[in-house]
Homo-oligomer: 182 residues x 2
């Protein structure tokens, strides 16, 4: 995730993971296999997130709020999954480029499709460019998410953090609702 495929040496990996070189190559035939495994693992985690989305919730803010919390919990459990996929998208190494090609984009596309499915857009005020409004909402959610992740390590109790996170987010959401909703 930090260095990309070519510059991620197995020596560094085993040192960081505190396992021996032999053990790594006992479980994986080669470096590429390890990468592929990690990639597919990350994909699977994100697919799980998609499946947990409640499509009966038609309010956009509520929907995104739920996803945000899920994401937070996933990030606590698997801290590098999202970053790994994000960086894999701009992987330069010829050895894995072919394998990745288009896969991440496809997942993101599927994600946005699900996330915005069956949303009740009649709640938005007239004269508003809804697409742009959603972009703004997305950007502030990402921004807020990043901010939260930086603070997450200072909290022991994830549940407690989740509550405070939710409460704080609601005040940001309120500001945007003021402009977005009727």
């Amino acid at each position: 995730m930090q260095n990309g495929f070519d510059h991620a040496s197995t020596n560094e990996i085993v040192k960081e993971a505190q396992i021996s070189k032999g053990s790594l190559f006992n479980y994986f035939n080669n470096k590429k296999d390890l990468y592929v495994y990690l990639f597919e693992y990350s994909v699977q985690i994100i697919e799980q997130l998609y499946e947990q989305i409640d499509l009966n919730e038609t309010d956009l803010f509520e929907r995104l709020e739920n996803i945000g919390i899920q994401k937070l919990y996933i990030h606590k459990k698997y801290p590098h999954v999202f970053d790994f996929l994000a960086t894999s998208m701009q992987e330069e190494s010829t050895e894995v480029k072919e394998f990745i090609k288009g896969k991440v984009e496809a997942i993101y596309d599927r994600g946005t499709k699900i996330i915005y499915q069956d949303i009740d857009y009649s709640k938005f005020r007239e004269g508003l460019d809804i697409e742009k409004a959603i972009e703004i909402l997305n950007w502030t959610m990402f921004g807020f998410g990043d901010k939260a992740i930086q603070q997450i390590s200072s909290f022991e109790n994830i549940g407690e953090f989740g509550e405070q996170y939710l409460k704080e987010w609601k005040s940001y959401a309120e500001i945007l609702k003021f402009s977005f909703y009727k």
Copy 2:
């Protein structure tokens, strides 16, 4: 910028830069000197940006709009300056870590101090949490900036792009003003 100090090999650098190894080490004593030069060069570019800020403009949206355009032009001229400093902040290499230490943060702090100097906050509606509003504004500016940068390469004429960029940004700004201003 892509690999960090340790994993940025001089071989790769000269290949990418299309110069010979000898030429690189004719102008720089060693790899660290090159890094330090690049760092200070980037800092200088950003300082220039700060100096161009018009402090007589007290409207926050106008102020940020001007800075956004300046940033866009800088990005066109020096495409990696901002990314270089952003990644240098999380540089792990012991060889340059000490040199960077705190410098980037200091520059960012100075930046935010200047950017929000003498802003007329009386324009904001009552009951609004101004700090949070500014965060939202920042996040959407970053988001919009990223989006613009991805499109910038497809434009030949930077001036033309700047105009379209500005026009599009104004419609985002309008949505936020609806919530922020009286």
